[in-house]
C-alpha cells in the first residue's frame, strides 16, 4: 500500500503563495484555509537569505485530530491521507485545537439565499465545518483509476505541487524506494515540524544549504530577546 507524502524544498520556495491560491481555486475553499506560507524573515548571517515555510496538514501516522473528533468525521485512509467527511463534521472545532500544526480551519457559515444569483437554497456544502489539506485525494484517486502516477503525472498530483512556481513541492509514495520523494528524503538533510510530539508527519522539508546560518541567526535573535 502506498503512503503518500510531500517533500518541500525550502531552498527553492520563494514565498510566491501560488500553492495556497491554487489550492483555494482547485478545491473551492478560501485561500490559506488549507495551506499557507509562513515568512520567517531575512537572516543576516545567511547572506540575507529569506526563508519561507509552507505549512499544511501533515497527514500524520498518529494524527491527534483523529482521536478527538467526536463524530468520526475525521478518519485516515490506508494510504495515510487524513480525510474530513463533510457530511459528518459538525464544526465543533475540537480538531482545530487538537492539531499541533495549526493546519485546520473552521469555515464560516455561508448561507445562500434561495433567490440569490446562481445559488440553490440553504447552506453551502463547506460552510460551518472544518477544512484542511487532503492531498487533493480526488485527483490522486481519479488519476490512479486511470493508470496515472501521482507525483509524476500532473492530473494525479495535488494542485499545489502542479502550480508551484519554484519547483519546491514534490509529492509521491514514500514507501516506494524509487519514487522521487523517497529519493529526496534519503539523499538530503531533512527536517519535520513538531518532531518532539512523535506524530509521524508525512511532510518533509529539505533544509537549505544555508541552514546552519539560519539556526545561528535564530539563536542570536532568541538571545537578544
Amino acid at each position: 500500500m502506498a503512503r503518500w507524502a510531500m517533500v518541500i524544498d525550502l531552498e527553492r520556495c520563494m514565498g510566491c503563495k501560488s500553492c495556497p491560491v491554487s489550492c483555494g481555486q482547485g478545491n473551492a475553499v478560501p485561500p490559506s484555509s488549507r495551506r499557507r506560507v509562513v515568512d520567517c524573515g531575512v537572516f543576516e548571517r545567511a547572506g540575507r537569505q529569506r526563508l519561507f515555510v509552507p505549512v499544511h496538514c501533515n497527514h500524520c501516522s498518529d494524527p491527534p485530530c483523529l482521536e478527538v473528533c467526536p463524530t468520526g468525521a475525521t478518519w485516515q485512509r490506508a494510504d495515510g491521507i487524513v480525510v474530513i467527511d463533510q457530511k459528518r463534521c459538525i464544526g465543533c472545532g475540537y480538531c482545530v485545537v487538537a492539531c499541533p500544526y495549526q493546519a485546520r480551519t473552521l469555515l464560516a457559515c455561508e448561507y445562500h439565499l434561495p433567490f440569490g444569483p446562481g445559488n440553490g437554497s440553504g447552506r453551502s456544502a463547506k460552510g460551518g465545518i472544518c477544512t484542511k489539506c487532503s492531498f487533493c485525494l480526488e485527483r490522486v484517486d481519479s488519476g490512479l483509476a486511470r493508470g496515472l502516477r501521482p507525483g509524476r503525472d500532473e492530473e494525479a498530483t495535488p494542485f499545489c505541487v502542479v502550480h508551484c512556481t519554484g519547483g519546491a513541492l514534490h509529492f509521491g509514495d514514500i514507501e516506494d524506494e524509487n519514487s522521487e520523494v523517497s529519493r529526496l528524503v534519503r539523499e538530503n538533510r531533512t527536517a519535520v515540524l513538531q518532531q518532539e510530539l512523535g506524530t509521524g508527519p508525512a511532510v518533509h522539508y529539505l533544509v537549505p544549504s544555508w541552514w546552519e546560518d539560519v539556526l545561528e541567526s535564530a539563536l542570536e535573535e532568541v538571545a537578544q530577546e
Binding site: 467526536p70 465543533c92 499541533p100
Partner: protein
C-alpha cells in the same frame, strides 16, 4: 527552529467557555449538595445549568442539527463524545431525581455528574494543539474550579445552616491555592507578572476562604453570600480566561538526525 509563533486559538470561544462554566457549576452543585447533606433541591437548578451550557455550546457549532453524531464515537475515544453523553445523562437523571427523589436516581445522577466533570477536564486536556491545556493537571484544575463555583452556589442557595456545607468549598479552595502556587513557581516571565498572579491568587482564594471562615465563626448569612458570589465569579472568570487565552502551539522545524550525522549520503545532494 521556531518558524511560526504561537497564535491565539479562535475556534473555542465564549460558547465553549459557557459550556464548561455552566456544566461544571451544575454538576458540582449537585455533588456538593449530596456531599454536604443539603438534601433534595427545591428547584432543578443543577441539571438546568448543565442543559443551558449544552444549548449555548450548540449555538457555536457549525452544524448543531447533526449534533446527534457525537454519540457515534463514545467507545472509540473522543472525550467530547463522552462529555456529551455523561452530561446528557446528568441532565436527565438530575431532573428525574428532582422529580421523584428515588435513591437509585440519586446514585445515577451523582455518578453521571462525577463522570461529566472528569470528561470536561479530560476533553480540554486532550487538545494537543494548545500547550497550556494539554497538561496532566488541567482536569484537576477545571474540576476544582467547578467545585469552587458549585460550593459557592450552594452557599447562596442553602436553606438551613450546616457546617458540612463548608467542606467542599474549603477543599476546592485548598486545591486551587496549590495549583496557583505551582503556576506561580513555573511563571518566569518577570516580577510584574508574578506580582499580578500572586495578587490574583490571593483575591480568588484567600478572600473567599476568609469569608467562609468568618461565616463559620458565626459571621452571618451576608458573609456567606459574599463568599459564594465571589467563588462563583472567580471560578467562571478563570475558566473563561483559560479557554479564551489558549494559544496554539508554535511551529518548530527540527532537522531529522540520521546515523550519518548530517543526514546526507556520501556523494549526495539531489539538487
Amino acid at each position: 527552529m521556531r518558524v511560526a509563533k504561537a497564535v491565539p486559538q479562535a475556534s473555542w470561544g465564549l460558547a465553549a467557555a459557557a459550556n464548561l462554566i455552566l456544566g461544571g457549576l451544575g454538576a458540582s452543585l449537585h455533588l456538593c449538595a449530596l456531599v454536604a447533606g443539603a438534601g433534595r433541591p427545591d428547584l432543578p437548578v443543577a441539571p438546568a445549568l448543565a442543559l443551558a451550557g449544552f444549548i449555548i455550546q450548540g449555538l457555536e457549532t457549525g452544524r448543531p442539527r447533526q449534533g446527534y453524531l457525537v454519540l457515534s464515537r463514545l467507545t472509540s475515544g473522543s472525550w467530547m463524545s463522552r462529555e456529551a453523553v455523561l452530561g446528557g445523562s446528568f441532565v436527565i437523571f438530575g431532573a428525574l431525581d428532582w422529580l421523584f427523589g428515588h435513591p437509585l436516581l440519586t446514585l445515577a445522577s451523582a455518578v453521571s455528574a462525577t463522570g461529566y466533570l472528569a470528561a470536561q477536564g479530560a476533553m480540554v486536556a486532550a487538545a494537543r494543539g494548545v500547550p497550556s491545556w494539554n497538561r496532566n493537571r488541567v482536569p484537576l484544575l477545571l474540576g476544582s474550579l467547578s467545585f469552587m463555583g458549585g460550593s459557592g452556589l450552594l452557599l447562596l442557595l442553602k436553606r438551613t445552616p450546616s457546617d458540612q456545607l463548608y467542606a467542599p468549598a474549603i477543599l476546592s479552595l485548598v486545591v486551587l491555592a496549590v495549583d496557583a502556587l505551582l503556576n506561580l513557581r513555573s511563571d518566569s516571565d518577570g516580577l510584574g507578572r508574578r506580582a499580578r498572579a500572586l495578587a490574583f491568587a490571593l483575591a480568588v482564594h484567600a478572600i473567599p476562604a476568609a469569608l467562609i471562615l468568618a461565616g463559620l465563626a458565626g459571621g452571618g448569612r451576608m458573609l456567606e453570600g459574599a463568599a459564594g458570589l465571589l467563588m462563583i465569579g472567580a471560578g467562571a472568570w478563570i475558566k473563561l480566561r483559560f479557554i479564551r487565552k489558549g494559544m496554539l502551539r508554535p511551529l518548530v522545524l527540527t532537522t531529522v538526525e540520521t546515523p550519518g550525522g548530517r543526514g546526507t549520503l556520501p556523494g549526495g545532494g539531489a539538487r
